[in-house]
């Protein structure tokens, strides 16, 4: 296989955890298929030689064969196409990769589809990556709320593939720390009429990194039952989420909404209380999650995608479930 290129998203000069996971996955693919792995980092302003060397060593240890460094003018905003896109494209033009991997972050999602378009390639978001019988790369992902699976085979195409990878992969720390360095020099920052102003905290951000989420659907109906859902989430050390309908009723705050057009989540355990499991809801939940459904209707569609279920009225079942969870004794309740 020809070269792979992994974009290293950074917070300041430090690669994000997800960027290192992406680099680890890229290393595994490059090693399996026999390609060179280029890590591309864009750094605001010219870093000191010591900072630069530390970054190169880190990326080498995490699997990069070569590190492409490009400096861009300082920006206090998040990495988006407007500030970082041209620099990443230049790196791609230099390396001519067959596969480009980016983190499935807000910035990665802003950059990747446009990069694919500029490269004349194909963008596929958050795929599972496997190897076919001929050793070819196979990208697949759930579509239509999980009822269909889209499959893309790398060998069948002439185009470069650009992909974003969700969290949950293993970062490597066993590579060499003497990766070759390629300096692309300062990239002129073209603002393109986009200017960063300021950032504020996202009140529902904890949902996106939570390993346990308890979801309240329309079946919750009352503030009292929503409080029980919140107590269960707390007992599990998790976060409480809600469907659009419950937020529209004013029972749950808007920042707790999970669904397409709201917030995407990828917990390990997802307990769904009183939600039927529409595509608009489950489309925003990672395909790898274990779902537990609690609903009074045993024929609710959510039971067809769940691993476990409880059937009954939420107000009857949740107090017992909270107590049972507390009795396991290994959970640390958190305050909301």
């Amino acid at each position: 296989m020809a070269s792979l290129l992994a974009y290293v998203e950074a917070d300041g000069a430090k690669p994000t955890a997800l960027a290192l996971e992406v680099l680890g996955e890229a290393r595994r693919i490059a090693s399996t298929l026999g390609g060179s792995l280029y890590a591309v980092a864009l750094i605001a302003d010219d870093p000191s030689p010591a900072q630069r060397d530390a970054l190169v060593r880190m990326l080498g240890k995490h699997g990069a064969d070569k590190v492409v460094l490009a400096t861009i003018p300082a920006t206090s905003g998040p990495p988006v196409w407007a500030s970082h896109g041209d620099g990443i494209y230049e790196a791609c033009a230099h390396v001519r990769p067959r596969l480009v991997l980016l983190p499935d972050s807000g910035g990665g999602r802003d950059i990747a589809p446009r990069l694919a378009t500029r490269l004349g390639g194909v963008f596929i978001a958050e795929p599972s990556i496997e190897y076919g019988s001929r050793g070819e790369l196979v990208f697949s992902r759930s579509i239509y709320g999980g009822t269909y699976r889209q499959r893309l085979i790398d060998d069948d195409m002439d185009q470069v593939v650009v992909t974003t990878l969700a969290p949950g992969r293993r970062a490597l720390e066993q590579g060499d720390d003497d990766a070759e360095v390629i300096l692309l020099g300062t990239h002129p920052h073209k603002s393109h009429g986009v200017a960063f102003d300021k950032s504020t905290d996202d009140p529902g951000a904890a949902l996106e990194s939570a390993s346990v989420i308890v979801m309240a659907g329309a079946g919750v109906r009352t503030h009292e039952t929503y409080e029980l859902v919140t107590m269960l989430a707390n007992a599990l050390g998790g976060e409480v989420a809600a469907t659009r309908s419950l937020c529209e009723l004013g029972i749950a705050p808007a920042e707790r909404e999970v669904g397409v057009g709201a917030r995407y989540v990828s917990p390990t355990l997802y307990i769904v209380c009183g939600a039927s499991g529409s595509s608009a809801h489950l489309g925003a939940v990672s395909g790898d999650v274990e779902i537990v459904a609690i609903d009074k209707n045993p024929d609710a569609p959510i039971f067809r995608v769940a691993s476990y279920g409880l059937v009954g009225e939420l107000s009857d079942l949740l107090p017992g479930l909270i107590e049972a969870v507390k009795k396991t004794g290994k959970l640390t309740p958190t305050t909301p």
Partner: protein
């Protein structure tokens, strides 16, 4: 793409809409449009009030599929509706569709393009950035709020646990992820679109030929129906459920 300076005509906004493919028998706005596209429509109508702009709804595809979407857009308050059609369009990928839309954006001298951040069916999020690339204008995805402010839009982008405000000047493509419901304009408030017909354009009329799209045919891979989901194991009671979750190491 026209320049904003010395302009005498109102600002022109386009909102890109598409019918959900898995609900062919349904008719209500909630079932025909994806969540992000509904948010884009609401955002476009709100910006039209704030910026005294005109809104054109654009859809690409056959009348039997997209005219319902166009009717919803007109009833919601869009000033015009444009449906683009062509024999080869069902075979092209999203970038091919974006090429057609970029041609329409140029033809109609659109200043701001709004679209859903991701389609409800595939969650890919390619269309907006691809239109922006092909029209050579800026874009911003993941927007959870937009507000018109004089000669620019203040757009709120959600990423990395933060809400980031950007000032964006037109021309630009804004990919709307969600939109505060409290700020939705009242649909149907405008009557000027009553009786407005849907304009139709063949891709030839936009200067796009089938050969222009050939490189974007059949690039979406294949789609396979998954086997029907298993039925959940129904636990006897709460203790039984917790015991099973614990055995499966699913409890933190």
């Amino acid at each position: 793409m026209k320049k904003k300076a010395h302009k005498k005509t109102p600002l022109q906004i386009a909102v890109l809409l598409r019918r959900l493919l898995d609900t062919p028998e349904r008719t209500s706005e909630f079932e025909v449009l994806g969540q992000c596209e509904r948010a884009a429509l609401a955002a476009a109508l709100k910006l039209s009030l704030e910026l005294e702009a005109e809104v054109t709804a654009i859809a690409v595809g056959p009348a039997r599929r997209e005219n319902r979407v166009m009717a919803i857009a007109l009833r919601a308050g869009c000033h015009r509706a444009l449906r683009i059609y062509g024999d080869s369009l069902d075979a092209v990928d999203i970038v091919g569709t974006a090429r057609v839309i970029a041609a329409a954006v140029a033809e109609l001298q659109i200043d701001l393009v709004l679209c859903g951040d991701r389609s409800q069916e595939t969650l890919q999020g390619t269309l907006g950035p691809a239109v922006a690339e092909l029209a050579n204008i800026p874009h911003m995805t993941g927007l959870v709020d937009v507000r018109g402010d004089g000669d620019h839009v203040i757009a709120r982008h959600r990423a990395g646990g933060k809400l980031h405000n950007f000032h964006i000047q037109w021309p630009a493509v804004l990919c709307i992820h969600s939109f505060p419901r409290s700020r939705h304009p009242r649909h149907g408030a405008k009557s000027l679109t009553a009786g407005t017909s849907i304009r139709e354009l063949n891709i030839d009329q936009l200067g796009v030929s089938v050969s222009d799209l050939e490189g974007r045919m059949n690039l979406g891979g294949s789609a396979h129906e998954r086997r029907k989901g298993r039925n959940a194991i129904v636990a006897r009671d709460a203790s039984d459920l917790v015991s099973r979750l614990s055995t499966d190491h699913l409890l933190p």
